[in-house]
Symmetry: C3
Subunit: 137 residues, 3 copies
């Protein structure tokens, strides 16, 4: 059995947007209590990440690190028609996740104590992002 939903997130620049509550609210709507929850982002310049949601400084350092590591003004890029932040966004997405599967058991999403689920927006402009949340069990 599968039940599927989509989550739409309006982003406003490169950073981590926590979506844990949105995913759990979809889990509350389904008709079975255990299985695999898959998150799939339908974009190639934004990605998914599970990371610490306790201390905001971890999130801040991750955001700063990825921009130092994959800078915007790299003269090697040829894919520049959509703006200088587009190619770095594809690379940042390639080294993080497009798809994440999390088990849920007896109605509970089995995240660890300090884990949160994030949409990682890599573009600087505002974007409407779509994440599919589907449950198989």
């Amino acid at each position: 059995m599968i039940q599927a939903f989509s989550i739409n997130i309006q982003t406003y620049g490169e950073k981590l947007y926590e979506i844990t509550d949105e995913v759990i609210s979809k889990l509350r709507e389904i008709d079975f209590d255990s299985g695999h929850c898959n998150l799939f982002i339908q974009h190639t310049s934004a990605s998914l990440l599970i990371q610490e949601n306790a201390d905001p400084s971890a999130k801040y350092d991750l955001e700063k690190w990825i921009s130092r590591f994959i800078p915007i003004n790299d003269p090697n890029y040829t894919h520049v028609d959509e703006g200088p932040d587009d190619m770095p966004s594809h690379i940042k997405s390639a080294i993080t996740q497009t798809s994440i599967t999390i088990p849920f058991i007896d109605g509970e999403l089995m995240l660890g104590t300090w884990q949160g689920i994030y949409l990682w927006e890599h573009r600087t402009a505002r974007h409407q992002r779509r994440i599919l949340v589907s449950f198989v069990g």
Copy 2:
């Protein structure tokens, strides 16, 4: 229920090989219409990636970027018996994907508009690569 297939790809050097059509053709063969499609590559020096398949320059820049980032002639490598491109291939695989799960609903693989599925070959010589495609629903 699970139905499983394998896709065999002959590669000829380090680059991204699109396999979206091969995956969709397996989806056409199964007996149920919704669930989770898992792609699993049975190698550690080639990997999987979902990325933009619209503008070829994005693919080109990704291929060039990973080779600049993880160069072949790093004197730190001790794992050199299988050639100078082998250890970089393991690292490139480690920071991309060995396994990707994509939802399918009503017979449609739920990729975004610009998303394609790629086998990322990291070795320079020709290789026969095997990807398992399995559907659970």
Copy 3:
């Protein structure tokens, strides 16, 4: 149908710990023979990886590479209250895997010939790590 287990691993410093046998032993305990096996680590400073388990030098070079790439004493980090190795551990986890799905068919986990499953501990102190192993089919 889902059947779920947890694997607890005592780590003693940053390295790759192979857990392939532990995962296969859980597969032996379930009541169905084909489906998707998901591994999910409930931590954000340790991660999962599928890599070569034949030649130990590949494992060694991966461990050395990640520590050169994401060094401990980067003055840019602000998340330092839990020690100098904590923020690098979050970054190392972000570019590897928190969740991996592997197909199993007729009771066999479909790893390639040279593939092993690893817990990648990124902290220097001893830690108790928990990985959920769940089977859906």
